[in-house]
Symmetry: D3
Subunit: 320 residues, 6 copies
């Protein structure tokens, strides 16, 4: 029998299923009894859980976060659904169907990564080649690149989403560069590959997608810039020449890829290459958002619900 | 000897050259003498001209606008350079080097138009094919499409500029569509071809680039929509079926291709196809602007002057 | 006994009344049983309805939308009130009190329309007179003008609301024109009459107020412009002269009547007449909004609730 | 022979005419010679004046500001026209044609003021009647109301302009109030009469239009509110009852009549009467701006120059 | 046993506690029975109360607002918690623990007020000293200054909050003035003391914090200006000289202390002293907001919930 | 005899003085003659220079930039003043009065730096102490900190300006921290010291103030973050423990110190310490701007000219 997803639970149901527990807290009621408050989630959402008459031993056994089997009952409290837990026990991660808890790209991760390597392999400039190579050689980082989500909510919010976004942007870049021959293709390719690399540190995605503390304080744009400079320092310490100027130009592409100050870019694109990376990023993100919103609409209407990030409802009907 | 361009004239020079005359007005001085005020221009700029002791006959002979041979002298008046005209005579348009007066794309117009036809020829949907065909069959309109400028100032401001912009956008669309397979390619191609078609009526470009009255009152977006509906009416009157729905969807692409209300779009893109046309238009326009601004910079600095439309100066130095 | 309005239903009530059904969908539960999901509404709001153990025959009998008698019970589900339906049957539209389902202006529609005709009858310019006459002669369109709502929510959201708004604007125009003698009264009157005419196609109002697909894709501003040009084409085809210039000037009034790009106007008012139409429209809409919001406030407070569209609460107390 | 207006002076002309002198300053050159710098103006503009080899006696005789006869010569300096003064002498104000120096409304001030009195005379509410009466009884203030300009630049920038604007707004109010019967007419009339009354203290207009220090520090909106409260205090000190509530409601109309925070209103209209005063003010100001801009255009083009405050060029051609 | 706070009530609980009653209204059901609708609140929030089978006598006995003992039961209705009241009786204000109903600063009000007097006592300019003295001598006003809240929601929303904010701003001013020696300290101190004095009339705080009608119509900025001018009038009527200029400069500080039009300032700071008052106000308000939001967060997360007024979540973890 | 400043040169003057030459370019006229175009500047401004009949030898001898003695004549060309150069020769930097070419703070740089060291010396947290110490130990960097300008134009645009701004901000921080005891003083002090440190690399100031290429591509905010991480890496490589968390919190202060995305901050202040650094920076910058603008006004008016960055004119008159 399949997993009962959080968004399918109504009030008054009996619950016996595996969820991710988050932020469990041991508290005492005004009468002095101990209870545990916690969040229970899967890939479709999150609910409050309450375990009354709890003990410190039960509390200490809970992972933060981790998989648990929850037995209890759903009820409405102050207009919110919550789970009243009778029994809770830790479950080994191997025993769960991970896809029930984290969405995953439906593209082939290995194949996409191979194609990414092929496309950045076209870079000819020696220094850019060395920089990109230093990233590719960092297997732990590439592992994270292959698994990180592309964002928290609006598009590519799935395991492999960052790679999918990077891969598609590189493909668009490869298709468009011949049409803009005055642009320096090496810079565009390196910029497309690296502009979001800091998201591997900005976002956590073990049990759910969330920002890391460090990610929230610093942001993926600045993290990408720091990583670029660290790779350059590593290369230089091994005697490979990386000029400051090339770091500045590539760093500028990273810093300006949101296009405007209002969107968190500390720089405005000041080269044609930075402008192209910004436009490809924006276009791929927005078209993905539109396509995903149209696909996910559950009603039969010709129109989706209002999409705030797009400032419109979307028309779903296709030509015959 | 070559043409003396307007932006090369200093004060106190003797002038004997051909310029375009614009808006000549016959006035009388406080003493009652007649004189003619007018603008003189070529592709590099415009100056005031004054002809003292003029006669009504001279005034009446002047074209509005047209080519004239001007003999006189340049001087400063209230801090502006003006031409004091001793003699003025009409010149046949055949006698002038038209390129001195109107900038022209350096691409091959015929070849671009052939490629445009080939690309929109890929449209398979019967009704879209009919609509696009109706435009292609309007040879007078296609003539204007091939010669109209793409804009007044920022990019593609040259004879053939509209075609160059349309051509490049179609090439980008053809390159990108395979990467976004869920989009309806026919709609994107038709949208790219038609979104700016109203510029053929919005801009005048016989002697100089300027807005027509009608263009300024109505705008190219609404003009494009009107032209689309007129072509549909023409088809329908010949018994060809064009459904309202397809007109609405294609019309929506036209109406939303500036992307936001702030930029004069009366609609926000509500389909993936409209979003793609908007992004390709925006990207091609902005990258062209950046490339042109970098190429036109006359100083030797690594940076261009401040570009207000881009909100930055541009970095011109290339990797070695 | 009167109709039980949607906004008066609490949880746990027995329901036996007539509502409008919308978007019925036949689905199957995880156990394979069929059920029908639908919306039930009247002029005060809308609720979800669920009919369990439904059959395909019942589903196929449902109108989309249409009036139905619903027997069942209200209950809370996931914090939303829904109707569990035991029995549902189609009701003839003649049997319902239509005013329970659609709000209607409390003004006299026939009288307002007569006054509108009288006011636009003052137009003297031959071509404007012909254009306005062509609209007045379109009885089907005038029928829609008399019944369409003026908007979806903020003001004049009732049957006859568009006419009420048009009528009041014309009266304001007639009162103000003598105070601004340099304005061309004929243009102002024609502009006031036609600026929102596209709303007859933008909004549907058979059972409820909603946007048509075409209305949402194209918008009433562009629809008004298209209708103006179609009427002009019809006149011209009968040999009546309508100059392009007069179409452009009147079209400009339509295109700029929201005053700013931000509010969906593709043009900014560039004539005094366009400015006056914009101001009268804005003023009549906003004062109506204020008056309606003050009248509809149900609390006894001196202040209404916060009105987001007006960015303030409203003070309701009157001088003694 | 008429006055030579400042905007008619070219470089290298001999000057002997009367101008207003402003801000004369006595300075010494690097060689130690004394000279006087000053501004010379009339209603068409302002120029720098320089008098070399000046004496302290000449300087001390100059009014600040005042009328002076200037003899000298015009020349270009650092690209600006300036007057080199050989001789300067004070001129009695009675000897000058004041209209050469300050623009004046072409309407009849006395007649407008009579009509204003008649219109506010329709107020029936006892307390509002008393408040308005207190203002009308202040003859010195009414004198200033009749002569103050309505603004510095954009519209009604002439002697009598404030009265003209107030008069026209009252006429519009009187024409519109019957169409909005739920509004409290007395409040609208009092609000229209008083909303800009503080401009009598904000603007100075003896020799030229400028802000007073007090006007610039406090602004006419707050000044109007202060004046209203002072008149109420005066009435109360004579035993006339003025309730706080009526002062607040009328004060609110004054404080919110710019409509939005962005335009310097410390309040947003929260009553229908405040909304109407705001809309009438905005409409009369903007339509006057459009009409004045169209009338003042000197070229023969169908379009005026770009008008920044209106964000458009204006179309000047009228229907035949 | 302690007070049961409104935010601790769940559905289905028995209620017997003291709350503040607000806006009681006597209504009749469709069957003709009388019932009373009202709001019940304490310092943690507000709920709807309904008393069925009520009598006019019960209704007339209710204070508006005031303390009442409520006996009844909590239940969900249309997804909102409400109290069904069986019995309601007036309670004397002396019998309640006022702190359960209104939050109060945890600073010492008397001590803060003494320090405020000491700090403004440093003013040396005779006229400013007289003006400030006139405020200090108004014991009723000073009483309100000591008890008024500093705002409705975001910061200093407690009895004594206005004094706490004024006191802290004066302390910051005293600390910073030596570092900006060119500023006129007397003006800064007087401005800090008086800039928010109008909040004593803008906000009511007997039973709960709310805006007065007058406060909402006029706003505390304009009220502060009016109070300043009234104090000046009182001084002048006693023969104390207060120049208009000093009133304008101090008035300007009050009028511009929100810094920008968008934030409701009718003036922009035009003196260094006005700029300093604005910055100290803004800084103290925002830092208080941040500190309060961090302290009030109830979760154990390193981050608070999203704070809309600050446009971010806040990081709560401290260095070890 | 003193230096003739650029802003004192009129047309038609004989020039023999020392200026900074910038961007000299060797060009040929249409007749084939060589000439040199260049900029000539001092601290008051910049002019075009033209040397006709130049040789390649003269061109090659010119520094880029550097001090040169210029002999020639000033003239107007296309409404701009330019210098026609007869003779040009390199001047040793030791021979010039450097203050004629670069403005310098009138504060004592050594004393300010000592006080800065004293104030950051109060930091107690071991890791922050180590980080700040690492910066202080970088004598070359501290040398640049002591000499860099604080900005290009609006405030602190002088040699030593960055130190003056940093010094004053630290003094304000030291004065205010006791008033906000819940803030972590060490973080505020470290943040104040380091937030603008990247300006040492962003701005060049040998001959004039300008952005470096690297500074313009990357910006001082991101440069400061990179420098912080480099110092941390250096410390770690010597075995000093610097936790990632402390780098993130301090980095966040740097990244958010412009307060809003619109002003180029890639982060919004999310800690009370970051908020304080932002407010102190903003306040010190703006008050300095106001004070400098008031001091630099050359007219005798009570008001300065309009200051665009402050959106107002400034009132200059002081209380007596």
């Amino acid at each position: 029998m399949g997993h009962k997803f959080v968004n399918q639970i109504g009030p008054g149901e009996t619950i016996d299923d595996i969820y991710i527990v988050n932020n469990p807290i041991l508290r005492s009621t005004t009468r002095g009894d101990l209870y545990i408050a916690m969040f229970l989630s899967d890939r479709t959402g999150q609910l409050n859980g309450r375990m009354w008459q709890a003990t410190e031993a039960v509390y200490k056994a809970l992972p933060q976060p981790g998989f648990v089997r929850v037995q209890g009952r759903s009820e409405l409290y102050q207009n919110n659904l919550q789970i009243i837990i009778n029994n809770i026990s830790v479950v080994d991660a191997d025993k769960v169907q991970i896809d029930d808890y984290l969405a995953r790209t439906d593209k082939d991760i290995d194949k996409m990564f191979e194609e990414v390597k092929e496309m950045v392999g076209r870079i000819e400039n020696t220094q850019l080649k060395a920089l990109v190579g230093e990233f590719l050689a960092d297997t732990e980082l590439m592992e994270r690149l292959c698994n990180a989500p592309g964002g928290m909510k609006l598009h590519h919010a799935c395991i492999g989403g960052l790679l999918e976004h990077t891969h598609n942007m590189l493909r668009v870049g490869v298709a468009m560069l011949p049409l803009y021959p005055s642009l320096q293709a090496d810079l565009v390719l390196a910029g497309l590959f690296l502009h979001d690399i800091g998201k591997t540190e900005e976002l956590a995605y073990d049990m759910a997608f969330c920002y890391t503390d460090s990610g929230q304080l610093i942001g993926h744009i600045s993290k990408s810039l720091l990583m670029l400079n660290q790779k350059a320092d590593a290369l230089r310490s091994r005697g490979v020449q990386i000029e400051q100027e090339i770091l500045d130009i590539l760093g500028h592409i990273i810093l300006s890829h949101h296009g405007q100050y209002e969107f968190g870019s500390p720089r405005i694109p000041a080269t044609a290459e930075a402008a192209m990376v910004y436009y490809i990023d924006d276009m791929d993100a927005k078209i993905s958002q539109v396509v995903e919103a149209i696909n996910e609409e559950v009603s039969d209407s010709n129109w989706t619900a209002w999409k705030n990030a797009l400032q419109t409802r979307l028309y779903r009907k296709r030509l015959e």
